[in-house]
């Protein structure tokens, strides 16, 4: 019997299906994986350190670059954290619009996920269909804030500007057609025999293990744990809206995570539908003179407002000496910002708790039990990682 040896193969950082610059060192016995070692850090930009040299308002556009597929969610999590630090109350109108935009963002993020996940498993067409709908969401963002991708569309205390004319109609139109489009993706995948065989009983993680590996978001719900921060610790106005938390069929495999995300898209659609009907009147940004710069018209005419504006732009506001943690249910899971303030105008330390980073480590568990190279691709796809927030 000749001696055999395991083959070590480098998957990434340049690889079509590691979703960016993730590098996996795979030990292969034929096609079967015996060991996997993720290697991260290829996209490290020092975002947490950058925050320490920026005023609170200045840091907001940088959060777009965390999970770049869900820029709006990052903006929201950061704004909520700073607002918690300041003890600032956000107007209802702003909160509703925030919910609409973040839920649309969840759909957009899931659409990229379904597209790339299907592409990883070899189905090309859902990718293009998903991007077609995502384009409509990006159009809505463009209408609201002027950017399609790196939105920076919230401000501390509310929104930068009120919703433009035609916004509500556009969102309503999207919400109306979208469930039919989801049916279309499902027709191509959900009951397709090949898809089932590729995803069922692949990358299984039990509920207990999922919690121990600090999984969150759809990846955890796929294992059957009914945990959603929108329900558990409602932020914005989620307690006023009705929606369900899908949990899949309770096996905890790739297919379950797929089912959860598909259903979540429908639920998000439902949330947007309710929220758009309920938008109250009022201000779009909090009326807090020491934190929120005065409106532009007053800056142009009123000397006191101008002085305020100068002070807030140059120095920024100085929150109390405090430590806060605020988290939201981002499309990928729990996204949290931990801010330590020393009373100056810049955070003393800002720690980001990105969902993908915590989710990625469960790959050790999922890979157990003789998974193949093709399964690794499916597992990475089902975790829906974005390297922008893993490496930060």
């Amino acid at each position: 019997m000749p001696e055999t040896q395991e083959m070590i193969i480098n998957m990434g950082p340049q690889h079509p299906s590691t979703h960016g610059v993730l590098r996996l060192v795979l030990n292969l016995d034929g096609e079967i994986i015996t060991k996997v070692t993720p290697d991260i850090g290829y996209l490290h930009r020092g975002i947490e350190k950058l925050a320490e040299d920026m005023t609170y308002a200045q840091f907001l556009p940088v959060t777009d670059r965390l999970d770049y597929l869900a820029a709006v969610s990052n903006n929201l999590a950061y704004c909520l954290a700073v607002e918690k630090l300041l003890g600032l109350e956000v107007p209802k109108r702003a909160s509703y619009i925030r919910v609409i935009l973040t839920e649309l963002n969840r759909i957009a993020s899931h659409l990229v996920w379904i597209g790339t996940h299907a592409l990883d498993i070899g189905a090309y067409t859902p990718f293009l269909y998903a991007f077609r709908e995502r384009e409509a969401i990006l159009d809505i963002y463009e209408l609201f804030c002027g950017a399609r991708f790196t939105t920076s569309c919230f401000r501390i205390g509310g929104l930068p500007q009120d919703i433009p004319a035609g916004f509500v109609e556009k969102v309503e139109k999207f919400v109306k057609i979208f469930p039919k489009k989801v049916d279309e993706y499902e027709a191509l995948l959900t009951k397709n025999e090949i898809w089932l065989r590729r995803t069922q009983f692949v990358g299984i993680i039990s509920a207990e293990d999922g919690i121990n590996y600090s999984l969150s978001g759809p990846s955890l719900r796929g294992s059957g744990v009914k945990w959603d921060i929108r329900k558990a610790e409602p932020y914005c106005v989620y307690d006023e809206l009705e929606f369900d938390i899908p949990t899949g069929r309770g096996v905890g495999d790739v297919y379950d995570r797929y089912l959860v995300r598909m259903e979540e898209m429908r639920q998000s659609c439902k949330i947007v539908k309710q929220a758009i009907a309920k938008i109250p009147g009022g201000d779009f940004i909090a009326n807090a003179a020491k934190i929120v710069p005065p409106p532009k018209e007053r800056v142009l005419t009123d000397i006191e407002a101008l002085i305020h504006h100068f002070k807030l732009v140059v120095e920024g506001f100085k929150p109390p000496k405090k430590e806060v943690y605020a988290c939201i249910e981002a499309p990928k899971g729990e996204l949290g910002f931990y801010i330590v303030s020393d009373g100056s105008n810049k955070p003393y330390r800002l720690k980001i708790r990105p969902p993908s980073f915590a989710n990625l480590q469960s790959i050790y568990k999922m890979i157990e039990g003789g998974m193949m190279v093709a399964d690794v691709v499916a597992i990475i796809g089902s975790l829906d990682i974005v390297l922008g927030e893993i490496d930060r």
Binding site: E142, F144, A147, N192, K296, V313
Partner: protein
């Protein structure tokens, strides 16, 4: 948990039907250089400096935009003019660093800075990425393609 083979076959055929149906659905793509996309009013494209009603520069060189810029892309040099007034000597935006976040526009107390719908900003060298005062006062030229 395997599904019935008849259901499998029906589902496989259903998939084929979806793709076949889409053969007859009109395409949604934009033939980019020939067809152009109209950007929203609020689109955050290339920055531009504005003049006031009298045709004078609105910018007073307060440097608020340079202060708020997260990537420090704006460089302003001010000096003393002939009639002892503060004068903006140079105003440069490094587009290669710009995040197009729009904070500078919000920070401007004189409404001197705005963002246009111009998004075709590619150029052949880094020097071309730095827009000086002259460039920023001119309305950006729209790129034209043959054919």
């Amino acid at each position: 948990m395997r599904q019935n083979i008849i259901i499998s076959i029906i589902e496989l055929i259903r998939g084929l039907a979806v793709t076949c149906w889409h053969l007859f659905v009109p395409s949604v793509t934009l033939q980019y250089p020939r067809q152009r996309w109209t950007v929203a009013n609020r689109y955050r494209g290339l920055e531009r400096l504005l003049l006031n009603e009298e045709g004078k520069e609105r910018c007073v060189g307060c440097c608020l935009c340079a202060r708020i810029c997260p990537s420090r892309a704006i460089k302003i040099v001010t000096g003393e003019g002939e009639d002892y007034n503060k004068e903006v000597i140079s105003f440069e935006i490094d587009i290669a660093r710009c995040l197009f976040c729009g904070l500078c526009v919000e920070a401007c107390p004189k409404n001197a800075l705005t963002m246009t719908g111009e998004y075709e900003l590619a150029c052949y060298n880094r020097a071309g990425m730095i827009y000086t005062k002259e460039g920023l006062y001119k309305s950006p030229e729209v790129t034209k393609y043959k054919k």
